[in-house]
C-alpha cells in the first residue's frame, strides 16, 4: 500500500537515501582504512593470482552496483507508486 501524504513520502525517501548512503560510505571507507592500516592482511593471497585486497576492491564495486540496484528497485515500485497517489490526490499547483 503506497503512502499517501507528502510528509510520509518524503520521510520514506530520505530514510532510504540516508541508509544507502551510510552503507556505501561504510563499505568504501572500511576498504580505505584497511588499505591504510592493515596492508599485510590485504596483501594475503586468497588463491593463486588473487589477493584479499583485490577481491575486496572488486567487491566494493559490486556493492556499489547492488546498492544502486536496490535504490532503483525501491524507487520504481514504492516511491513512484506513492508519487502517483500524491499526484492524483491533490490538484496540482500552478507552476510559478
Amino acid at each position: 500500500m503506497p503512502t499517501s501524504t507528502l510528509e510520509a513520502v518524503s520521510a520514506a525517501r530520505w530514510r532510504i537515501a540516508i541508509s544507502l548512503t551510510v552503507a556505501m560510505m561504510a563499505v568504501y571507507f572500511g576498504f580505505v582504512l584497511l588499505v591504510a592500516f592493515n596492508k599485510p592482511l590485504l596483501g594475503r593471497i586468497v588463491t593463486r593470482g588473487l589477493s584479499l585486497g583485490m577481491l575486496l576492491g572488486a567487491l566494493v564495486i559490486l556493492v556499489a552496483w547492488v546498492l544502486t540496484w536496490i535504490y532503483v528497485r525501491w524507487a520504481n515500485t514504492h516511491y513512484d507508486a506513492s508519487l502517483k497517489t500524491l499526484r492524483a490526490g491533490r490538484p496540482a499547483e500552478r507552476p510559478r
Binding site: 507528502l6 530520505w14 580505505v32 592500516f37 593463486r48 589477493s51 583485490m54 576492491g57 556499489a64 535504490y71
Partner: protein, 513 residues
C-alpha cells in the same frame, strides 16, 4: 623497445579524421535544432535514460582514468586500483542524494536548486566562484594532458594539439550546444567501452580467459607485492581525505550535475544514473585487466622508457596485442575521450557564466531567448580561448594534482550547500553563500600549503599543511560553516519556502491544463 607510437600513423589519423567528421556532422545536425536556451543547455530535455547513462559515463571517464589508471596499475599494481574504486563510489551517492531532487528543482545549473529557495544574487555569485574554480582546474588538467598525449600518440607539436582540441571542442559547443555535446559523449563512451573491452579480451585470450592466471603471472614476474597495497597510501588520514573528495566530489561536479537536466523527468534521471554506474563500474573493472596486462605483456621498463608516468601503458598494450591498427584505434579513442570531457566542461562553464551570472544576476532573469543564446555562445568562445591559453601556459608543468584539486573543491564548495539545500529546512542564503566561499578558498589554500605544491613544485623542504588531500578538513568545515551561519541567523521566510518546494522536490514542476 620499438613502437610505432609517436610516429604519424596512417590508421590512427584515419580513425581520428573519421571521428572528427562524424562528430562535426552531428554538430551541424544539432545546430539546426538548437533554437532556445533550453536546447543549448539541456538538449531540449529529450535525452533518454540509456543515452544519458552513456553520456554521463562519457563525461566522467576522462583520459586520466583510462590512460592514467591503466598506467598506474601497470607500474604499481594494486595501488592503482584504489583510484579506480574511489572514482566509482561517488555514483551511488549522486543517485541517493542528488539526481532526482536536482532534476525536479532546477533548470540548467545546480545553482538553480539553491536559488529556488534562497536569494538569487548572493547564491549565484558564490556558486559561480566554486563552479568556475572546479571547471578551470579540470580544464587545465585536460588541456595539458591533451597536448602531451597527442604529442606522444601522433607526434604533433604540443601547442598545435592544444589549439586543435580547443577549436574542435569550440565547434561542438558553440554550434551544437548540449545536443552535440551529448552525442559526442555517447559516441566516445561507446568507443571507449568497446575499445577497452576488446583490448581486455585480447589480453585475456592469452590467459585462456582467466584473469587470475594473468594476475598470477604478474606476481611471478614482479613479486607477490604487486597484488597487495604498496607505497602509494602511506598516511591513513590522507587516504581517507582523498577518498572523501573522490566520493563526494563526484556529486559536486558542475558538468556532471548539468547532465541531469537533459532528461525529461526525475524518473529518467534516476534510471540514467543506474546505467552510468553500471558502465563506469564495468570500465573500472576492466582497468584491473588492462593494467596488469600491460605489466605482464609489455613490461614495466618498456612502459617507463616511453613515458615515465606510465600514461602510454594502454596504447602500448594495444599495439602489443593488436598491432599498429589497434594502436591507431586506441589512440583515436583517447583523443575522442579528451574532446568529450572538455566539451562537457566548457558547456557547464558557459552555463555558469551566462545563466547564473549574466541572465540571473546582471539582467535579473529578464533576458529573452535570443539574448540568452547569444550570451551563452559568447561565454563559450571566451572559455575556449581561456582554455587554449591556459593549456599552453601550463606546458611542461605537473598538473596531475589539478584533477584531485577539482574534486576537492567540488566536494567542499558545491556538495555541502547543494545537499543541505535539498535536505535541510534551516539552510539560509548566508549559510549557503559562506559555505561555498569557505569551501573554495580553504580547498585552494590548503592545496597551496600542502606538500604537493610546497615540496614537489616549489622545492621547499617542508610544507605547512601535512596532507596532500584537503578534503577531510575542508568538507566538514564547509558543512559546519553552512550550519552555524544558518543557525545564528535563521530566516523564517526561507524555511517557509523550503516547505513550499517540498512537493516540487518529489513531483517536479506540475503543469495544469
Amino acid at each position: 623497445m620499438t613502437s610505432a607510437l609517436g610516429e604519424p600513423n596512417a590508421l590512427a589519423i584515419t580513425f581520428f579524421v573519421l571521428f572528427i567528421a562524424l562528430s562535426l556532422g552531428i554538430t551541424i545536425w544539432a545546430s539546426r535544432k538548437t533554437r532556445t536556451a533550453e536546447h543549448f543547455y539541456a538538449a531540449g530535455r529529450s535525452v533518454t535514460a540509456f543515452q544519458n547513462g552513456l553520456a554521463l559515463a562519457g563525461d566522467y571517464m576522462s583520459a586520466a582514468s583510462f590512460l592514467g589508471i591503466a598506467g598506474l596499475v601497470a607500474l604499481s599494481g594494486f595501488d592503482g586500483l584504489i583510484y579506480s574504486i574511489g572514482w566509482l563510489v561517488g555514483w551511488p551517492i549522486v543517485m541517493f542524494l542528488i539526481a532526482e531532487p536536482l532534476r525536479n528543482l532546477g533548470r540548467y545549473t545546480f545553482a538553480d536548486v539553491l536559488a529556488a529557495r534562497l536569494r538569487q544574487t548572493p547564491i549565484r555569485i558564490a556558486s559561480a566562484i566554486g563552479s568556475l574554480a572546479v571547471i578551470s582546474f579540470y580544464l587545465i588538467a585536460q588541456m595539458v594532458g591533451a597536448g602531451n598525449l597527442i604529442r606522444l600518440l601522433f607526434g604533433l607539436p604540443y601547442e598545435a594539439a592544444v589549439v586543435i582540441v580547443g577549436a574542435v571542442m569550440l565547434a561542438y559547443v558553440l554550434f551544437g550546444g548540449m545536443i552535440a555535446t551529448t552525442w559526442v559523449q555517447i559516441i566516445k563512451a561507446v568507443l571507449l567501452l568497446g575499445g577497452a573491452t576488446l583490448l581486455a579480451g585480447l589480453v585475456l585470450a592469452r590467459f585462456s580467459f582467466n584473469p587470475l592466471a594473468l594476475f598470477a603471472q604478474a606476481s611471478d614476474m614482479y613479486g607477490a607485492g604487486v597484488l597487495g597495497p604498496g607505497r602509494l597510501v602511506t598516511d591513513p588520514i590522507d587516504a581517507v581525505s582523498l577518498g572523501l573528495a573522490l566520493m563526494l566530489g563526484t556529486a559536486g561536479l558542475p558538468h556532471i550535475l548539468m547532465r541531469f537536466y537533459t532528461v525529461p523527468d526525475s524518473r529518467t534521471a534516476r534510471t540514467s544514473v543506474g546505467y552510468a554506474t553500471a558502465f563506469i563500474g564495468f570500465f573500472y573493472l576492466l582497468t584491473f585487466v588492462l593494467g596488469f596486462g600491460a605489466m605482464v605483456i609489455i613490461g614495466r621498463d618498456a612502459i617507463t622508457s616511453i613515458d615515465a608516468g606510465g600514461n602510454m601503458a594502454a596504447p602500448l598494450l594495444a599495439e602489443g596485442v593488436g598491432g599498429t591498427p589497434f594502436l591507431g584505434f586506441i589512440s583515436a579513442v583517447a583523443f575522442a575521450t579528451i574532446l568529450a570531457v572538455v566539451a562537457g566542461l566548457t558547456l557547464s562553464g558557459a552555463a555558469t557564466l551566462s545563466h547564473d551570472l549574466w541572465v540571473s544576476v546582471v539582467r535579473g532573469a529578464k533576458a529573452d531567448q535570443r539574448e540568452q543564446l547569444r550570451v551563452a555562445r559568447m561565454a563559450t568562445v571566451l572559455l575556449a580561448i581561456v582554455s587554449i591559453v591556459l593549456g599552453i601556459a601550463f606546458k611542461g608543468q605537473n598538473v596531475a594534482y589539478m584533477v584531485g584539486l577539482a574534486f576537492a573543491i567540488a566536494a567542499s564548495a558545491n556538495f555541502p550547500a547543494l545537499v543541505l539545500s535539498i535536505f535541510w529546512k534551516g539552510l539560509t542564503t548566508a549559510g549557503a553563500q559562506y559555505s561555498m566561499i569557505v569551501g573554495t578558498v580553504s580547498a585552494l589554500g590548503l592545496i597551496y600549503l600542502s606538500p604537493t605544491i610546497q615540496v614537489d613544485i616549489l622545492g621547499n623542504a617542508a610544507a605547512w599543511f601535512p596532507l596532500r588531500n584537503p578534503g577531510i578538513v575542508t568538507i566538514p568545515l564547509s558543512f559546519a560553516v553552512a550550519i552555524t551561519v544558518s543557525l545564528l541567523r535563521p530566516v523564517a521566510q526561507e524555511a517557509q519556502r523550503f516547505a513550499e518546494l517540498e512537493r516540487q522536490l518529489h513531483l517536479g514542476v506540475e503543469h495544469v491544463d
